[in-house]
Symmetry: C2
Subunit: 313 residues, 2 copies
């Protein structure tokens, strides 16, 4: 019977993976209660201490749109310079880039949508208009020596438009890549992807010239699929997976977008697979346990829940 086994079933796994921590931005932006600036700064500090190399700290969007992140500058001012040079921040336009530059941020991200409806709701413009808007932003960021990540959201389905084709994702990924983004994050904003679709989309994106090491996958756990989709991504050789400490997250412009893949649940899998990350899972879980205690509610992360239930916190 051993011959029935495919010995390559878990082949293709990378030796080392970057867990790109989005908790302070993607995790907190949907919190209805405005959090204390120092709490946000302390979360970022704890995450760097846990070993993350990149922490997405905030977003320089219009404070009226996302009041939770209106204190972006104040949060960053509280960080040590060694942390500040490693944070990333979202910049939707030139004004956002101005703010990021004035804070000393070295890593920025622009964010486009794979669907027209979400582009209108999230950015108040068409997909084409958003990419035109990003073009000079990316150019200036690159000329200032910054690294630029491009997000593409709703890549696996959209609450208004339904299915999204892998070809459309690939075409838009290519356009973001052509703008000069050094890394692309392909997002399942509403958490509807399953592993076959993940393989299909990765294949499509790689086919337009994006290199594996330029690709990040970003999953939400709305339907419990995030970690299995991460596994399917790893089997394709993907080396960067976005995740959020404690599984916090959502999107104020997409009600059905619930928590991100929890960093701890991903790290548990990566540790079990012997894949290096440089991140201490226990330190991340401790940071999440501290944060949810501050927020006064349970953590969506199974690992954090299990550690707290065990009482060895």
């Amino acid at each position: 019977m051993i011959s029935d086994l495919s010995p390559t079933a878990l082949a293709g796994l990378p030796r080392r993976v970057t867990v790109y921590e989005v908790g302070p931005r993607d995790g907190l932006q949907n919190e209805s209660q405005i959090l204390d600036t120092e709490l946000k700064a302390e979360l970022i500090r704890r995450l760097f201490q846990a070993g993350f190399t990149r922490v997405e700290a905030t977003s320089f969007v219009n404070p009226k749109s996302v009041p939770q992140l209106a204190d972006a500058e104040s949060v960053l001012k509280r960080l040590a310079s060694s942390d500040l040079e490693r944070v990333a921040a979202l910049v939707p336009n030139q004004r956002g880039l101005d703010r990021a530059l004035s804070c000393g941020v070295r890593h920025v991200a622009v964010f486009a949508s794979a669907t027209e409806t979400f582009a209108q709701r999230n950015l108040n413009m068409s997909v084409d208009e958003s990419i035109e808007t990003f073009k000079p932003v990316v150019e200036r960021a690159l000329s200032e020596g910054l690294s630029v990540r491009g997000y593409l959201s709703m890549c696996f389905g959209d609450p208004w438009e339904g299915a999204v084709s892998a070809e459309r994702v690939a075409v838009l990924a290519h356009r973001l890549f052509q703008l000069g983004c050094g890394e692309l994050s392909i997002g399942d904003t509403i958490g509807v992807a399953t592993p076959g679709q993940v393989v299909e989309v990765i294949s499509a994106v790689l086919s337009v010239g994006v290199e594996l090491q330029q690709l990040a996958m970003h999953f939400h756990d709305t339907y419990g699929q995030a970690l299995a989709n991460a596994l399917a991504s790893l089997q394709q050789g993907v080396t960067t997976i976005d995740a959020s400490a404690g599984g916090l997250g959502g999107c104020p412009f997409a009600r059905r977008a619930t928590g991100n893949l929890a960093s701890e649940d991903l790290l548990f899998q990566l540790n079990g697979l012997g894949i290096e990350t440089g991140v201490d899972i226990r330190a991340v879980a401790d940071a999440s346990a501290w944060l949810v205690a501050e927020l006064g509610r349970p953590s969506p992360s199974r690992v954090v829940g299990a550690i707290l239930a065990r009482g060895d916190q």
Copy 2:
């Protein structure tokens, strides 16, 4: 770059999978509040209506050990004969088998542990003693024309003994198989497995002569790994995955064993992969939503949570 892709990364998936529903037994046995007998019967009815071919309905253990399942006979009496002939029930010994036979049950299961500590705690005997105890039970069940499933728990780690070797699992699986069990369920009782270990254990069990179609995998979601482990199992060609409606579950003898893999979350993945199950995910989620409303708490299933949050329940 397309050449870097492994086209076989999701190869090996079966076309059809049996989701073996353990909710009424594994899901409810750990509930501290004793549930109404009719509620249990109604849950079983709803699950069969949703399309499951096998529902593990109860356990004929000593009522003093598991008071929640003390009404096993009364639950089964409330079922239509078409449902009764499809339920499965746990039988720890001859007395349990007597009770199952007197109810008209046609599918029974014995349950052994891969570790000595859990055997002592769960069964109050050594692993060898438990297998000796099961031997005449399985023989008699088979002579009565029943089908017999064998559970092997703690196959990926044990809270007292730590790591469990794949070789030990294979040897014990072989012994259960030699007793005459037609199906073996390999359990990650405390939810610590990761996909590489899953592939290793499946490989080991198949190497001792167990056929793929006789193998079921049973995951708990304590650390959020259950669905990714199910995916790894499917990639090995496994055709039966145990799951619990709404992700309820645990084990009264292993405090750290929290919820089972949620049937709905598994079905969402299987549907997305185009794998047939014959089960209506919406009907299962409706049953789970009804049950958690009766229990007065949220569902651990992400799918059930998402459906309820969307308000289209």
